[in-house]
């Protein structure tokens, strides 16, 4: 890594933040321990995620198809592998879909009909930082306004994740069971 993460024992302030993470995320991932160098940065980063709202405007399937694509397009192996490890089974992702999330397109035969719109949204936001009239017409009516807002915030947060993970060269967590797909 280009910047050393904190190592235990952590300050009381940092430990209190780590204690709020789910037990299955312990010990904390390296992007958290490097952001913890300034606890204000860690706190802001964690707040910025709207992935786990209860109730959510999105199903787990919708969220994970979208985030695998967002992280896949960024070539963010660190976060893509975490998502595949923790959520791919719950989201019903198949092996061809996992591979296509990185290297495929919205038109690939492996996707379900409802997945394609999410892949296109991730792609347009990645490539243009906006949404075309054609895609908007498709989103509007099939997703609630709030679901669209949640998706836009998710794309932004996980792009920030990519800047940290790729920019600082955070390695893939050794606990994950799937490697980042090869081209």
């Amino acid at each position: 890594m280009r910047i050393d993460p904190l190592t235990p024992p952590y300050s009381q302030e940092v430990q209190a933040q780590f204690d709020q993470l789910p037990p299955s995320w312990q010990p904390p991932f390296a992007h958290f321990t490097v952001l913890a160098r300034d606890p204000r940065l860690l706190r802001a980063y964690r707040l910025g995620s709207v992935a786990y709202l209860e109730p959510s405007h999105l199903s787990i399937r919708q969220r994970e198809v979208f985030l695998l694509r967002v992280t896949g397009r960024c070539r963010n192996a660190f976060e893509w592998c975490l998502r595949a490890h923790y959520f791919a089974d719950d989201a019903g992702m198949t092996e061809p879909q996992l591979s296509a999330s990185v290297y495929g397109s919205a038109d690939d035969a492996c996707w379900q009909t409802n997945d394609r719109m999410l892949i296109r949204l991730a792609d347009e936001l990645h490539d243009t930082a906006t949404i075309s009239d054609a895609l908007w017409a498709e989103l509007d009516g099939r997703l609630s306004d709030e679901a669209i807002l949640q998706l836009i915030l998710l794309a932004g947060h996980y792009r920030t994740n990519a800047y940290v993970s790729i920019g600082l060269q955070v390695p893939v967590d050794p606990r994950v069971k799937r490697p980042f797909p090869a081209p």
């Binding site: 910025g48 709207v50 908007w136 709030e146 836009i152 990519a162």
Partner: protein, 187 residues
């Protein structure tokens, strides 16, 4: 606008947030009132900004050079224009520098040496979602490790701002918004 913002009266949590914002940001921007459709989205979004930390790891000038470039590269006049309105003078940015944040590049003669590094950072993140070894070496000569992390988080956050504004077709804010400068003809 593609999604209708919420109008006053706001929920107590949203009103409390708006009461904490600087007086000069009132009435609240549509960026905020549209996210207020679900107050959890608004509160998480505003709480995750690291641009106004006190103390900060970067100067106002460093922050604003980066953010003008990030928002300009995203073609987001909505946020770019407000940054110019609120911060260009405090950041000591000349009209020529404001202009090249949109129409120039890192090699433009108008930039000061430290500025060039921030423009390169915004450009590499926008274009490649990574930082080359050459840029990394230069960054670490000029910035602390914490400053680099703060810059990365700000670049990501303001891409999110730009995406919201672009995707929802937010119109420029009255009084404080301004469009991009037209591209000048070559002399």
């Amino acid at each position: 606008m593609r999604i209708a913002p919420v109008n006053a009266p706001f929920s107590p949590n949203v009103q409390a947030l708006f009461d904490r914002l600087p007086a000069s940001w009132s009435p609240p921007f549509k960026l905020f009132t549209v996210l207020a459709r679900d107050e959890r989205l608004l509160l998480r979004f505003t709480g995750s900004a690291v641009s106004y930390l006190e103390p900060s790891h970067v100067t106002v000038r460093q922050r604003e050079v980066l953010l003008l470039r990030v928002t300009a590269r995203c073609r987001c006049a909505y946020e770019w224009g407000m940054r110019v309105h609120y911060f260009a003078e405090q950041a000591g940015l000349s009209d020529a520098e404001v202009y090249v944040s949109v129409h120039g590049d890192a090699d433009d003669a108008n930039w000061q040496p430290d500025d060039k590094l921030l423009v390169r950072l915004a450009d590499e993140l926008h274009d490649t979602v990574s930082i080359s070894d050459e840029l990394w070496t230069d960054l670490r000569t000029a910035f602390s490790e914490e400053a680099v992390i703060q810059l990365l988080m700000m670049a990501g956050y303001y891409r999110t701002v730009a995406t919201i504004a672009n995707a929802l077709r937010l119109p420029l804010e009255p009084q404080v918004g301004r469009p991009f400068p037209p591209k000048a003809r070559p002399a």
